[in-house]
């Protein structure tokens, strides 16, 4: 029962945190707000660090690492309010493609060919799953392709319009299409850095694959999305508390920093306790997904339901500590608050997740 990170995992997380501290500052996030999209350059740099293709199998050009290796990076991404689609691409799509490649006969690909040709992008149907993985995973790992999921259970998927390929899950079928081949309706939300849409399939389109194993892979992908969102919420929660601490240490009233007053201290201490207790839940969810634990869905649901509430609590506390200035467009706090509100509604809104947990806890079978 070891919750320890390896030295490598710790070093990678520190490296990514350092990168984001320099390259994803609030001003950078605001650029994503203004442009309505993430930054391709920063995405490419993250790919260069190995982050984007972290869980892509080595035979497809990635680092072949797992969900647990990615989880601390997702926390850091949340801490930086990263606009880039690390969750959609790395945590969900790449893993889904790798899962499916393993299904269809598995085994390493032959060494023929390098990157797929430009003609293959936008092809409405591809015959073989392994061809899909072989085509897209190397490009994902290189930071050259954005592949995002549009799965049932996440009705307003993010970053669809700027994707190269959308993996649409419907029932036990998987479709893989570029956004222009889908019926995409932009759904503006409170977080401009996380553009959402609804995705509908046009009538005459065939799935890439279907069947019970595909359904299982899609379910696993959904669980990954939930767990990854939970990790980002924990990071965002910590960031907002830190922002509020910084403010409370500098803003003076009644002759001293407002952080000297117990009410302010207690708001932030309470928020901190709640966010801290979500960390092991997030790590356990990642571990359960990685090991194929039968309760992975429950663990992910618990992690996200708790993390969403903890992050919302941190947002309220941080806003309250900031006072009126926190209520302005100018204050950076909203970059995290809106990410929290957006992510909380996605990958299993909080109420839906609690209902899943209710059913699990109150089932007739004993502990």
């Amino acid at each position: 029962m070891q919750f320890t990170l390896t030295d490598d995992q710790r070093l990678l997380a520190e490296g990514v945190a350092a990168f984001l501290a320099g390259e994803c500052r609030p001003a950078h996030v605001r650029q994503a707000w203004d442009s309505g999209r993430f930054d391709a350059g920063r995405w490419k740099a993250l790919a260069g660090l190995g982050v984007v293709g972290l869980t892509v199998p080595e035979r497809f050009g990635g680092l072949g690492m797992g969900d647990v290796d990615l989880v601390t990076l997702l926390v850091e991404a949340g801490r930086a309010a990263l606009p880039e689609p690390l969750l959609e691409v790395s945590a969900v799509s790449a893993a889904l493609l790798a899962d499916l490649a393993d299904l269809d006969g598995g085994g390493p690909e032959s060494d023929e060919g390098g990157s797929p040709t430009v003609d293959q992008i936008g092809t409405p149907t591809l015959e073989h799953i392994d061809s899909l993985a072989a085509t897209w995973l190397p490009r994902i790992a290189a930071g050259d392709a954005i592949v995002v999921p549009a799965l049932e259970g996440d009705p307003y998927p993010a970053n669809v319009e700027h994707a190269d390929l959308v993996l649409v899950g419907r029932g036990n079928a998987l479709y893989a299409l570029p956004p222009h081949a889908l019926e995409v309706t932009h759904q503006p939300s409170v977080d401009p850095a996380r553009p959402t849409a609804t995705v509908a399939l046009p009538t005459a389109v065939a799935p890439i694959a279907s069947g019970p194993e595909v359904a299982q892979a899609l379910a696993r992908a959904s669980t990954r999305g939930t767990a990854a969102a939970a990790a980002m919420l924990v990071g965002a929660g910590h960031a907002m508390i830190e922002l509020a601490v910084e403010y409370a240490n500098t803003r003076e009233q009644f002759g001293k920093p407002i952080g000297s007053f117990q009410a302010v201290k207690h708001h932030l201490a309470t928020a901190f306790v709640e966010v801290q207790f979500c960390r092991p839940l997030v790590e356990r969810a990642a571990s359960s997904i990685a090991t194929g634990d039968a309760d992975a869905v429950i663990h992910a649901a618990m992690a996200k339901a708790m993390a969403a509430e903890a992050a919302a609590g941190a947002a309220k506390a941080a806003l309250q500590v900031h006072g009126a200035i926190g209520y302005t467009w100018e204050c950076d706090l909203q970059l995290w608050m809106k990410r929290v509100w957006s992510l909380s509604a996605a990958w299993g809104d909080t109420e839906s997740l609690w209902r899943t947990l209710d059913a699990h806890v109150h089932a007739a079978t004993p502990d």
């Binding site: 029962m1 070891q2 919750f3 320890t4 990170l5 647990v68 508390i241 601490v245 409370a248 240490n249 001293k256 920093p257 952080g259 000297s260 117990q262 302010v264 201290k265 207690h266 932030l268 201490a269 309470t270 901190f272 306790v273 801290q276 207790f277 979500c278 960390r279 092991p280 839940l281 790590e283 356990r284 571990s287 359960s288 090991t291 618990m302 339901a305 708790m306 609690w354 947990l357 209710d358 806890v361 109150h362 007739a364 502990d367």
Partner: protein
Amino acid sequence: MDLTFTDEQDAFRAQAREWLLANAEHAPTCSFDTREGFELHRAWERRLFDGGWGVVPWPVEYGGRGADLIEWLIFEEEYYRAGCPYRVAQNGLFLLAPTLMEYGTPEQKQRFLRPMASGEEIWAQGWSEPGAGSDMAAIRARAVRDSDDWVISGQKTWSTRAAFADWMFGIFRTDPDSSRHHGLSFIFVPLDAEGVDVRPIRQLNGEPGFAEVFLDEVRVPVAQHTLAEPGQGWQVAMATAGFERGVSLRSPGRFNAASRRLVTLAMAQGDSVSPALVREVTRSWARTQAYDLFTYRTVAHVLAGGDVGPEASVNKIFWSEMDRSLNETALALLGPRAALGPGAPDAEADGDWMDRFLFSLSGPIYAGTNEIQRNIIAERVLGLPRG
């Protein structure tokens, strides 16, 4: 990261479970806050000790099994799963013992650890005074050096289980010119010594769970009875406080068992439970799960050489407020029967939930109030200004 138990850990669990299965029927079900109950619980401590399960993580020479913290957590899980009672010897075992192991001389360990483990000597904690609760540095009870003895005078209060305990560990002002947290010493006092007057205080549940301890020129040998050096009392007490707030005092096993009882209570009521209450039960369960995992995570950190430090305050806030909430939910589930007490024919489990609820109200108060804990987190973890 590997969240499975090893074969060795599973074997350890099986051993513990086997012993508990065979012996749990001898565990007292009554309160330890009565003279008779206290002695029954002392006998239970003796049985645990004789079976080799009383002080699992202690070195073998003091009656332990030399188990690591993970094994201790496993034992605690099995202990509470078997329905065994809270430990009457907990102040000694979970608070004093780790402090003694860190700061004590070999002679002190020899003298005090085994009798502590066997239940022969049960300890109370003498910290608070009428004028020194949250503000522990305002301590005034003094110990004056007279030849080889301390002569102790003053008053301690809220000393849990002091009504029936054998010894008390306390903090006393040994430097008369000192103030606040300077000049304090950590001293062991036998409660049957001349000049000691223990006055039980009746708590909300009607029992003398804690007591005032009046000390009128009580003589205690300096040798053996002083932990660390005179004047180091604050530092040593802070270590004890760390143990109290951190992992050692409240293991997840206790709350996991409570959560299971709560779910069972809800299930027994079937469809009549409202969705709102169903949710509250689920939330309690989720929080006990979080506490369980957080504890293992903390233990992993400690086993890897890390310190807990002020983060122990995070722990204390979480378990105490979680426990209170869990018991509130139980009362809500009981509806009109919630207020029924022992002896009431319609009471659920003879009023056990109300009893647990009353105890859970004290959680945010003892071991350092949650207000103090929040101050500690704000100042020492988050970096907000003091004062």
